[in-house]
Symmetry: C2
Subunit: 661 residues, 2 copies
């Protein structure tokens, strides 16, 4: 059951799609001071799940999190905010219930941080809606919540293929080289990503014609090889006379405004920009239509970036900083002045004070950005999604975004942002997946191999062995770091086999994705969601259930040649060094130490279950959903969801069939 | 056997105390290009141990490390340098041997980073000595190496007590409050640390008389309660007319010089400073004698900081940066200019280019700092140690340092630097211990609870359960972070019990420390060093053997209520929630999942062994080495090393007795 409690005058976030009557009874579970603060006493064994894209473990206890979408490339243990705000939690323990705090501004979640036995949730203003969800168990609560917030976005099938990305491939030749090298190495590939360098001076919906002479031809050439190009789109629009997007935006008041009514100026990649007011339906519509500039060139997928929105600096803060620098550095700069100096410069980026400086036009009323900050990225993706529904209604377009709020899951996926080539970030990605699924974000994944910092071959291999299970499966790295295209390393074959195994697993992954999306379920779940009465299952935070048939337990420590795995029931271990061969072993319920060599994939099939395993494919277009083996227990069956992978999913297009072993 | 190979014209580092004849045969194991590069082919199963204070696991394979002492508060997975340079490694596998690269400048250790199967070690110049050590096994190789580099420093017994520190306790009252609160909470305490705020304007060997009116009286009052004050000493000397240290240094040419012969200027806490030329014996002697300013006030211990040396900025680089900032920020600052701007400011601190700018006077010859950089911190600690031998020869003084080189282990301990309140930093500290012990650094430990960032109560508790085993056992945190004195949290009793257990274990810890120091052994060892033929033992990187009787396996993950433990032999599990009670359980060799509640200490006693366990004590002065129980297996015995805890250790002062259970 879902109950809705309204406080003050909430801004309509569009997170929720179901109209529910307001409850008149007292808010259960929480104490509230009617000042935006909600308090709950935690029992020693209570587990708190959720918060979507956040740091730390599956159990969120013991930290203070802040919902404030933030371009934060440092996903450190002490981070408080990342790119998205997903204010849905489940408390599981003495009392089990879900709570969604639908609020567009800044919120704090102190989950046993200040005091171990107290959870205190605080909205900056007392203008929010709280939904309390009770149900049979965690899965039931999630299902009810997901029905409340609407169906998750489903990308085209090709988006489940492997993608190669890097900031930055500088020109057409770089792209062709990637395609050629993958081909030469015999590694399947479905997409290559275009980061900011394809644009002319980082201007949205332009192409640098010197470095990418004919993007249409390049796109077609690539597509002939089964490779889609996926360009990036940034939130900020360069201020440049004569640049059509800029001119149209200014003329039509599509941009966010200063207090004095002028267009707000921030700075990002191109330097000075205006930010489209994506909260205005007419601005959304305008900006969304621009994607056709690229779809006309054959583009079928996009990633939306910098839409927290990221602001490297604002001019007045920069001017103040420069003046203060002169002041601070004029005498003998000791500790206080030195920290002030370096702190000011480091604090230019994403300075929370800058988000007070601009306004959205909501039905003629100027709303300060700070109050609706967390909705910006969501509405950028919405802009694209809704426009593409009109531009090419016959097919699904790939979309994923960096910034999001609950509701954005209906319009696109998200990637897990600018992680680093750190071993701990394999686990961090994994621990986010169930929380993201709870919030409706099914199409997601991490930058395989790590975005920032230098990677190593063994890290890439271990990362592949994890992320080959995630819907979004992309290798991405940052300028200035070591190249990490799979052909760069010594044991190319080991990496190639992992990608080939992915392709053989796509029928399963895609089918489970469709089930999760269409039935409002989680594709990735903590063990405790399915093994509710098993106290050990509640402890496990480095294994996940994937769909209804698999359990994954990847290696995420350097030089480890194996790991401990807890089986909450008897399972079948599958061991693969090659996509063509596997070894199986039935292991009993309980604790196991499992050897896993660096070039070896290990996963587990649940008792009496099996998963469809496709024939070898170098591209998603070669995957034959009608020719599948079943991998797993004898006498088992599997219900396969499939479709043509292209058209919008409907009852007509969906095929459900039972496979028997 | 140790063989010595000389390349070029090495700078004498004083790392080694034994004179060994130069080998004329070809360097074994490594290929060298006689250009400072040494290459070794790694077999798939080779393990590389060592490198002392470095990041990553016990097995150093898979990263590129750089020996370049660096004030690096970000002990991230991608760090390449920390505060010390300890160029000793053991390769264990197809061939097992040790190698020490005695070189005072910058060195790279690419241990299977660029190519997984290749180790490439590179000195900036081909002026170094390489020692190759072969032996029966890893322990034997370490013992030979330790005999080569001389006996490790032994602190007084009180240094094994618990210490409370914070940057910054601002005044006398803050110190008295800490002492009173510990007393009131019934938590043992032996020391309180004085960070930079006790000084007048961060000037070495001064005391701010406004905030610390009478440090002598404070020291005496504290000592009457069994608490020693331990002040910090920084490397840089403030430039200030009339300040005696500054004046004497200038007059006598005790400071490092510019190329033109003037005193080099860097900036640290007080702003502009000169750096004592600790590589000059006469400057060492001069600076060392200044410690008597504080010993006269009753001080018996010091920590030496900022001695990489840390340089926040140099004036010319700051001037260049400011000019460039003006330039970069004058137009439309886009991505390139923005990154240049923020990068320049962030790059002021510890900029490697600044270390080229100054010189040491070595017997009248000016040696560029860059060539001897890694020796600076070592010689600062040496300066203090040698002076205190003269000032108070009758007793051992506590010393530890941030920066070090091998050889510094003879003069003092080191702490593991400015870590963070991150769960992963419990493990990082633990993984450094064996490598530090290999290099002779026995008196060491991490900032319990974490220095930077905000801590949590559960992190502090879990950290205590690890660090109560380390010789240096200090809670330390940074300005601006959450207070983490143990009385700040809800369950003070749980923390108090952990400290009380520490005090009951001190007889064992101190005895094992003495054995390791006097017999050139490691106090903390990887399991594989003792269980050489056990392939699983080689894999374990989150458990350590402590002395000859214990194994530790702390919990280092938030919300975990237990962990996996591998026993390489049958052991006795000891479980304690209180210092007065324990539960024992014999566990067989093999894998175990062990429940460990948040307020519970678990450790393991090796088969047929036992450890001395003292009576309750609130201070090390109360520890009675003659009244010990034996905890562990029946019919076992333990050889206890003890002394009066104060005088320099000699054959006369040392008592060795066998305890029987």
């Amino acid at each position: 059951m879902i109950k809705k409690y309204i406080y003050g005058n909430p801004f309509p976030t569009d997170a929720v799609v179901k109209d529910i009557a307001k409850s008149e009874d007292k808010l259960p579970f929480f104490e509230t001071d009617n000042n935006g603060t909600f308090t709950f006493g935690l029992s020693e064994d209570d587990i708190v799940y959720g918060l979507g894209e956040q740091i730390r473990g599956i159990n969120k206890r013991g930290w203070q999190y802040v919902s404030w979408n933030y371009d934060n490339p440092n996903h450190h243990e002490d981070a408080r905010s990342l790119y998205g705000s997903h204010n849905f939690i489940i408390i599981s323990g003495r009392q089990t219930f879900g709570a969604f705090f639908d609020y567009a501004g800044r919120m704090e979640f102190d989950i046993g941080y200040t005091r171990r036995s107290k959870m205190q949730i605080k909205a900056e203003k007392n203008d929010l809606i709280v939904y309390i969800i009770t149900g049979e168990n965690e899965k039931d609560i999630v299902k009810q919540f997901r029905q409340l917030i609407g169906k998750s976005y489903i990308p085209p099938l090709w988006a489940f293929g492997y993608g190669q990305s890097r900031w930055g491939y500088k020109n057409e030749q770089d792209i062709r080289t990637v395609a050629r090298q993958y081909k030469a190495s015999g590694i399947p590939l479905d997409s290559i990503y275009l980061d900011i360098d394809y644009m002319e001076h980082y201007k949205d919906f332009t192409v640098d014609r010197e470095r990418f002479t004919d993007l249409g031809k390049l796109t077609a050439d690539m597509k002939a090889q089964g490779i889609r190009l996926v360009p990036i789109i940034d939130a900020g629009v360069k201020i440049e006379k004569g640049y059509d997007i800029y001119e149209e935006g200014v003329q039509n008041n599509y941009f966010c405004k200063n207090a004095d009514g002028g267009d707000f100026v921030g700075a990002v990649w191109p330097g000075r920009v205006h930010f489209p007011d994506f909260l205005q339906p007419r601005a959304r519509k305008w900006f969304g239509k621009k994607y056709s500039v690229l779809t006309k060139l054959g583009i079928e997928g996009f990633w939306n970036d910098m839409n927290e929105p990221a602001i490297f600096y604002t001019e007045d803060r920069l001017a103040d900083t420069c003046a203060e620098i002169e002041n601070l550095t004029s005498g003998n700069m000791g500790i206080d002045e030195y920290f002030a100096f370096t702190g000011m410069v480091a604090g230019l980026n994403g300075n929370i004070g800058d988000y007070d400086k601009f306004y959205h036009n909501i039905n003629g009323r100027m709303i300060n950005h700070r109050e609706v900050h967390n909705l910006y990225g969501m509405n950028m993706t919405r802009s694209a999604f809704e426009a593409l529904q009109e531009i090419c209604p016959e097919k699904r377009t790939l979309f994923f975004s960096r910034s999001s709020y609950i509701g954005a899951h209906r319009y696109g996926g998200i990637w897990q942002g600018d992680n680093k080539s750190w071993w701990s970030h394999i686990l961090q990605s994994m621990q986010q997946l169930p929380a993201l699924n709870m919030a409706g974000f099914l199409f997601t994944g991490s930058d395989t191999g790590g975005f920032g910092c230098d990677t190593t071959e063994d890290l890439v291999l271990r990362w592949l062995q994890y992320s080959l299970f995630t819907p979004l499966f992309r290798n991405h790295s940052a300028e200035g770091t070591r190249m990490q295209e799979l052909y760069c390393f010594d044991n190319v074959n080991a990496a190639a086999e992992m990608i080939k195994i992915r392709y053989r697993l796509i029928p399963y992954l895609y089918s489970e994705f469709l089930k999760a999306a269409l039935n409002d379920e989680m594709m990735f779940r903590p063990l405790a969601f399915d093994f509710h009465d098993d106290p050990m299952a509640k402890q496990v935070d480095d294994q996940l259930l994937l769909g209804n048939e698999l359990m994954i337990a990847p290696v995420y420590r350097q030089n480890a040649q194996g790991r401990y795995v807890y089986l909450p029931e008897e399972m079948m271990l599958i061991r693969m060094k090659s996509s063509n061969e596997h070894i199986t072993e039935i292991l009993p319920k309980g604790h196991h130490y499992v050897d896993i060599a660096l070039d070896e994939l290990v996963f587990f099939i649940r008792s009496k279950k099996s998963v469809p395993f496709g024939k070898a494919a170098y591209n998603t277009s070669e995957i034959d959903m009608n020719s599948l083996d079943l991998l797993g227990y004898p006498d088992s069956s599997y219900v396969l969801y499939s479709d043509n992978g292209i058209s919008p999913v409907s009852d007509d297009s969906l095929s459900i069939s039972e496979l028997r072993k």
